[in-house]
Symmetry: C2
Subunit: 189 residues, 2 copies
Amino acid sequence: MELLKKKILEVGRVEGDGILKVDSFLNHQLDVELLNEIGKEFYRLFKDYNITKILTAEVSGIAIAAITAQYFKVPVVFAKKTQSKNLDKDTYEGEVYSYTKDITYKIRVSKRYLDKKDNILIVDDFLANGQALLGLKQIIDSANCNLKGVGIVIEKGFQKGGKLIRDKGINVKSLAIIEEMKDGNIIFK
Amino acid sequence: MELLKKKILEVGRVEGDGILKVDSFLNHQLDVELLNEIGKEFYRLFKDYNITKILTAEVSGIAIAAITAQYFKVPVVFAKKTQSKNLDKDTYEGEVYSYTKDITYKIRVSKRYLDKKDNILIVDDFLANGQALLGLKQIIDSANCNLKGVGIVIEKGFQKGGKLIRDKGINVKSLAIIEEMKDGNIIFK
């Protein structure tokens, strides 16, 4: 998606350890006009899959999911990282391993909001190690619903998540795939 | 807002200790069509304030803020609860006291994304004790920008936050104010 790549080149900041900061438009400040273009592109890519629900994980996926859902005219469900009084006790759970923090945490979706008839599109801001996607897939599998596709805004092609997820036969589409980040430069695949 | 009140009466669930669960449409599963009506209503209420940015706090405010921002054609900034590698070190901070957990936590916004010329609209899902709003106001005051209004989806009128915030001269508009929740019944003001 050219508009997105242009934005990444213009305002993305490469920092140490393969970190790409896009907090000016994607995960702290939100460029809602760009999110709309992203939503339209996800709709173009997945409109033939009879999607009935969009699933993401808190926090960074939520705005992307909500804006995208307008094009599909379906609800969003976001998996929660913390067990709060507002979450039902009866949940589907997924485990997510964090490489940066070297801990495994749980994400949860109330059983009320996933049905075995649901055709799910997952959306998220980044695909790097793929661990968040594995946690969401675990939730979808526990609910016996159908994972129809995964829409990613930025894939770090130099990390192993993309291969890991595609090798499981999952239909992943990334709007921008970064092949390399070197000396502050971003090279797309 | 009649459509919202109707939805709360239809699917909201009253649980012990003044808890109103609206996770079927507002903060776990998201009814994006209703969020659009909420966004339009916030626009109607605040369109004359020359809003340049919408501010909220993660997690539950994000989807409401993103959908609402489409009507104002301005960016969203959401305050973060955790200090992550993706957040700048140079931040404005606010403190939020949680009554349920009896702890005070910090919320942060990168200094890059608030300017003293900004006219801010805060949006959030609930107003109960008002502590999250105080934390956001602290951030706005530190950045020397202008708080023009606060848009709340559901205010718990039987808790003290509404008075606390209005007594500070802040322009708060709540789309549904609950006066009482008794024996599972919801009574609006």
